[in-house]
Symmetry: C2
Subunit: 339 residues, 2 copies
Amino acid sequence: MTKTTLKEIADILDLSISTVSKALKGYPDVSQQTKKRVLELTESLSYTPNTFAQSLRSRTSKTIGVIIPAMVHYFFSNIIDAILREAESRDYMVILMQSNEDAQLEKKQVDLLLKKGVDGILMSLSNKTHNFEHLQKIIDYNIPLVLFDKIAKLVPCSKVTIDDIKASYDAVQFLINKGHQRIAYFRGDLNPQNSIDRFLGYKKALEDNDIAFDPSLVYLCPDADFKDGYTAAEKLINDHGTSIDAVHSITDLTAIGAINYFNKKNIRIPEDIAVLGFSNWFMSSIITPTLSSVEQNAGKMGEESIRILFDEMDSKQKGMTIKHQKIVIDTQLVLRNSC
Amino acid sequence: MTKTTLKEIADILDLSISTVSKALKGYPDVSQQTKKRVLELTESLSYTPNTFAQSLRSRTSKTIGVIIPAMVHYFFSNIIDAILREAESRDYMVILMQSNEDAQLEKKQVDLLLKKGVDGILMSLSNKTHNFEHLQKIIDYNIPLVLFDKIAKLVPCSKVTIDDIKASYDAVQFLINKGHQRIAYFRGDLNPQNSIDRFLGYKKALEDNDIAFDPSLVYLCPDADFKDGYTAAEKLINDHGTSIDAVHSITDLTAIGAINYFNKKNIRIPEDIAVLGFSNWFMSSIITPTLSSVEQNAGKMGEESIRILFDEMDSKQKGMTIKHQKIVIDTQLVLRNSC
């Protein structure tokens, strides 16, 4: 297409030449509506080759964007590992970003990825993300989006999670079956869906076993890390002595912090207090005592997430309707010496 | 520039129009020589705007490529964390790739990054990389390249490492000062420079203390992981019983594998055998006994690597000569209960 043609289209539609050019190239910073107007006009003009319409559909960058809350994290490293392997096998490149649990940064990163023209986006949300406009923006740009692990339930896109309620329920049910009644819970941050769901699983297991829920046995671990677990264990012993039978914890790292404190105070695990984590980090299998946990199958979560993303990217390529998927990855209790 | 002009240049130089167009846009899949020919001709033609020359110099993708051998690795996660933070602060995007210790894959990834037109590349080489043509290719494309941790000494580019010889030397000297004489070494793969250097540090410390080097005390741990360490410890005890005073190991993960074996066999650490790792992984501070190690300052290595890369990218932008830097990050012995 010559400059003259672009100019004609621009004049007719009252747009700048560069906007028309960008619209024809499918750039994401041009709205879908404008793209549609440009495309319709170019198609209606006799000298417009059909390849414009094609290129608008087929233009791919062979690049996907991935945003995770944190990099130094066994669970997310395993997910990224799976994503990189699968992307690699399809000759796709991965732009990786970490939000550092900062909702503003996450929003900015989405804008950068859209500007870059990635073909699809995989995201696990920051704990601070309450507003989902940036996710809606991805959807409005018609870019396939898959949320995994930390999702927003109401955003219309594909999602890959575990059943956090069931996983924690099963863990607590196991502790109850072992005869434990006074079970403390080290819960995660208040906002994230998976943190809420794990807490609900804990409560429901107590309820189904006619054990009264005692809020004084719940300790908040907002960063869900070693330090949070250590501090919560210290508070727990100060508040309740060893009248507690067991602790179930939002993450392995928190559980390991607790184990560290109990070991230091010569509180025997599991004789005095049983401990059960969540996530099955590698280090849980080598600490003393080894930590029972919930295997979350991070690799499988990464594989399924990128598989769905490629499905959606393929469907989009072929002009087919995208059907959102909701995948729930199985979890398993991994029993070791801590309970 | 109109098609006619492009065609004229193409005809004169006996190139395709698309090659001329790509050369003018600075695409990396056109050789430097061809770019030079095209640029010189366009500059010599009266109707050539100077902006071509400028755009050839100033074209940036605001994207850098990073290739690491492995993702699920505490050291590399920390380096990537630092790289992402710094890139973020400059509004740069990071394409991340893992070679999985596969030299062929690493080569292919370099090609993909060059094709993508990244502004700079950060790499830590796979253990299997013996041939450095792909690194030379990056240099020939005039793309800034910084190697970190696993480097190739002779490739002319900037490098960020620790002093592996000195770090292991200091570790072994510490064990000798503590009275240990029969010190086993769990060495890494034969090829990587840092593995070679750490082994040389071990040997030199023995030599400087008039302790004869005994090859039967050296155990190869090619994957430098938990399993390698566990197996090597088993062999060590089978071969030498507890006549060994201490073990120094290529990585913490290997040392932790050894500790696991010794604990299982009720071999007391450090009373029967002292253990000293390398890398100071988080889990080393929480296992039983806690593991002494060498702090490698991964975050600092990541920061320095990307700082140098941005320096070089800036210099290139400004048309200045790039001066390669060689940075050595300090290490520290971290003493805990295992020795």
